[in-house]
């Protein structure tokens, strides 16, 4: 099919903190450069879900006068607590013992989704063209196997890929440089990492987590604007990596969330239910009782750190932010590092386009920047949790507090997350409590709050590489963990009327684009691809 073509100097995929920072910096360095950003969400910010306690280091660099502008970065952290939870009790870890990475007094509580919306407007005022509602569905290569741009998805195909009345073919967007900033587990990012073997120098496989977030409006008397609370412990077992956050934002809103490492072993574990159960702890229950939940969502995080970071340049393109894996795990912060990786990208691209500089300069610049130093200091924390919560916390205390992350060795991650599950027959079943509809909720009512929507009668965007594998293997061996790890109830196991065999049913219209299935499926059988543009959640305030 002949496709229309648009040409830009730089084509950016994904309007998150990383991609937007690249775009803004490019325009600041040279206002003549033409830059476009494709964003699969129906508007900028619609697919952004994050804590978020925000470190402004990169924003200070990018927009030094941001405090004079009407940005959504308003609520400074006012106090903080780190709790160790048991079922009934909570123990406060004195701030003195907390590694600096966990101290937040100079940071802000923000909605990253609203912040990206604001950054998007800032970028547009500089002349960046942003196209929300358009997913980049394919990478385009030339005959020399260099990336030359991306193709947007076709719109108006039915489930059999026939053209509907309103069919609109995707177009080719060609750039001198393509920047892949799709965030954690980008599906184009995954492709180029494999194609160009960008992981070849890595010692460790990549690590991920799944993060949940709910926005609550709570009673005024319970609200302490700017307060930041983190916890570890209950309801998670000692051998599962994870913890909670609870941030007091503006307007009597709080952001409650939970992050669980996707290297968990028990296929019966349900991250969603762990999170729901967490809210019933007396400390949290007290806070939200009488309040109202106004938003829900989930998104995978990339946690491997420096040991798992791929090479970030390739012929014709760069991969930046969480799409590569620049998140600082002990801080659970990836926004400022993603932004910095985007700023560096802009420097390299300008040199490349105007002065014949090489894209491989990215590696050098990244290494000499503060992000690299930060990630280097943080590198041993996540792998130490292979030893369990308590030893890891002791180690982290020594590593971070006494040695400042400068211990002369680097711990490695042992397994990829999809290799971590043990067979269901060896695993302990977990009985989760029933939802009460007041502070804990079932998946359908949660998904409803995410606003997710996909035009019906469109091609499925969750592909099974081998159709029968789920029936013959994942269901039997692991009791189909997708039923539990998917935060949106997309996967259900049903009895097939004819064969009387258990089969996997995929309700793809519920998908909230978290990418967990693509990561955790034990045989890597599920492939997430972009649905029709504009589909997916409509987050705001997340």
């Amino acid at each position: 099919m002949e496709r229309e073509q648009l040409e830009y100097d730089v084509v950016i995929v994904g309007a998150g903190p990383a991609g937007l920072s690249t775009a803004i910096k490019l325009k600041q360095l040279n206002s003549d450069i033409s830059v476009c950003i494709l964003e699969k969400g129906t508007e900028v910010g619609a697919h952004i879900l994050s804590g978020n306690v925000f470190e402004t280091k990169s924003l200070d660099e990018l927009i030094p006068n941001w405090k004079e502008l009407d940005s959504p970065v308003k609520t400074k952290v006012s106090s903080e607590e780190f709790l160790f939870l048991t079922k009934e009790k909570s123990f406060k870890v004195p701030n003195l013992f907390l590694p600096n990475a966990l101290q937040n007094h100079n940071n802000y509580v923000i909605s990253l989704s609203n912040f990206c919306k604001w950054l998007g407007e800032y970028a547009e005022n500089l002349g960046v063209e942003i196209f929300p509602g358009f997913a980049a569905s394919k990478v385009i290569y030339n005959d020399n196997d260099e990336v030359i741009g991306v193709q947007t998805g076709d719109m108006g195909l039915d489930s059999e890929k026939n053209k509907k009345e309103n069919f609109e073919p995707g177009i080719n967007i060609i750039g001198k440089v393509t920047v892949l900033s799709e965030g954690c587990r980008g599906h184009l990012g995954k492709e180029v990492i494999k194609k160009f073997d960008l992981n070849k120098k890595n010692k460790s496989p990549q690590q991920y987590g799944i993060g949940f977030k709910e926005v609550w409006e709570i009673k005024e008397e319970n609200h302490e604007i700017g307060k930041v609370l983190h916890s570890v412990g209950w309801p998670l077992e000692n051998d599962t990596y994870g913890g909670s956050f609870c941030y007091h934002a503006e307007n009597n809103q709080i952001y409650i969330g939970y992050v669980i490492g996707l290297d968990y072993k028990n296929p019966y574990l349900s991250p969603y239910d762990e999170f729901q159960q967490f809210k019933t702890h007396p400390v949290i229950k007290k806070l939200i009782t009488g309040g109202k939940r106004i938003s829900y969502g989930a998104r995978a995080l990339i946690e491997g750190g420096l040991q798992s970071l791929p090479q970030m340049y390739m012929p014709g393109a760069l991969i930046i932010g969480c799409n590569a894996g620049t998140l600082n795990m002990p801080k659970i912060k990836g926004s400022h590092t993603a932004m910095k990786s985007g700023i560096i990208a802009a420097d390299v691209i300008i040199e490349h386009i105007y002065n014949n500089g090489k894209l491989s300069e990215y590696e050098k610049k990244f290494r000499n920047s503060w992000v690299y130093k930060e990630l280097h200091q943080a590198r041993n924390v996540k792998p130490s949790f292979q030893w369990g919560l308590i030893p890891a916390m002791i180690f982290t205390g020594i590593d971070q507090k006494i040695f400042g992350g400068r211990l002369p060795f680097t711990l490695q991650h042992r397994h990829a997350d999809h290799e971590a599950l043990i067979p269901a027959r060896n695993a302990k079943k977990i009985d989760y409590p029933k939802y009460d509809g007041e502070i804990t909720f079932d998946k359908p009512s949660s998904v409803y709050l995410s606003g997710t929507n996909h035009t019906d009668n469109q091609p499925n965007h969750l592909l099974l590489n081998d159709r029968d594998l789920s029936t013959n293997f994942t269901i039997e061996e692991y009791d189909e963990p997708a039923q539990r790890y998917c935060p949106a109830g997309v996967y259900e196991v049903e009895l097939d009327d004819e064969t009387q065999k258990k089969v996997l049913k995929i309700n793809s219209q519920n998908c909230i684009h978290c990418k967990t299935c693509d990561i955790k499926e034990p045989s890597q059988n599920i492939e997430w691809v972009t649905p029709e543009g504009g589909g997916g959640p409509i987050y705001s305030g997340t």
């Binding site: 229309e4 129906t42 909605s111 609203n114 063209e129 108006g156 309103n166 009597n252």
Partner: protein
């Protein structure tokens, strides 16, 4: 034939509507806004008329604050030729909207006004009807098909008993049902082109109409929650519950 399309900016139909905590209205801050869905059908129909060579020019008009430009850009990306934004900081009631549109009609002299059958935010379903009365033009409401032959307007509308076929004459006001057509996607190249199409702004004060509100909102609240259903084990329990708890038999 000149076609005028009225477009409203509303909270996107996929967004879960939330009542403001002070009960003064619905939360619209940081909420995704879009073209009112049946207005998209009106846009699509106007663009089709142009493609069929029946319309010479298509104009979109909207009333609202500066941000309302986005729905006009979308209209133009779908194929509308140019647009007009009547700037008003306050939301207007249907009567004031119709009066505003009448002024625009007098200025632009279209032969046909197309609009959505109703807006999904207030569901008033009045503006088209009031406008036709103010202009003294014939009206066709909830149209699900449209054919124009010379001066003749042939429309169908779905009614309880089936389909009603009507005939009227230009100039006319027609309000569109979702079944009228399938609105097209705005393609990327067309979005780019739409950025360069003319968009005129008029301040509503210059139109000298009465925009005062006739309705006072006392309070906006959420509908009461439906109680969760209960599962019964057998017919006996069901009958008992109906008899003694629900007291309906």
């Amino acid at each position: 034939m000149k076609v005028l399309v009225a477009v409203k900016r509303v909270v996107d139909y996929k967004v879960q509507i939330r009542v403001k905590s002070d009960n003064t209205g619905v939360e619209t801050q940081n909420v995704k806004m879009s073209v009112n869905p049946p207005d998209e059908n009106a846009i699509e129909e106007a663009v089709k008329l142009k493609e069929q060579g029946l319309a010479s020019e298509t104009i979109a008009v909207s009333i609202g604050d500066e941000k309302t430009q986005d729905v006009l850009r979308t209209s133009m990306a779908m194929g509308i030729d140019r647009s007009i934004l009547v700037k008003s900081q306050n939301p207007l009631e249907p009567l004031a909207v119709a009066k505003t549109l009448k002024k625009i009609v007098e200025k632009e002299n279209p032969d046909l006004v197309l609009m959505g059958k109703q807006a999904i935010d207030d569901d008033s379903n009045q503006t088209g009807q009031i406008l036709s009365a103010l202009l003294n033009w014939p009206q066709g409401c909830f149209i699900s098909s449209l054919k124009i032959e010379g001066n003749k307007v042939l429309i169908s509308r779905e009614i309880d008993e089936g389909i009603e076929n009507l005939e009227t004459k230009l100039p006319a006001v027609l309000t569109c049902d979702l079944r009228l057509n399938t609105p097209r996607f705005a393609s990327l190249p067309n979005i780019m082109k739409a950025k360069k199409k003319p968009l005129d702004m008029i301040d509503i004060d210059t139109l000298e109409i009465d925009t005062s509100t006739k309705i006072k909102t006392l309070k906006v609240i959420e509908p009461p929650k439906r109680k969760a259903g209960v599962m019964v084990n057998d017919v006996k329990e069901l009958v008992e519950k109906l008899k003694y708890e629900a007291k309906v038999i």
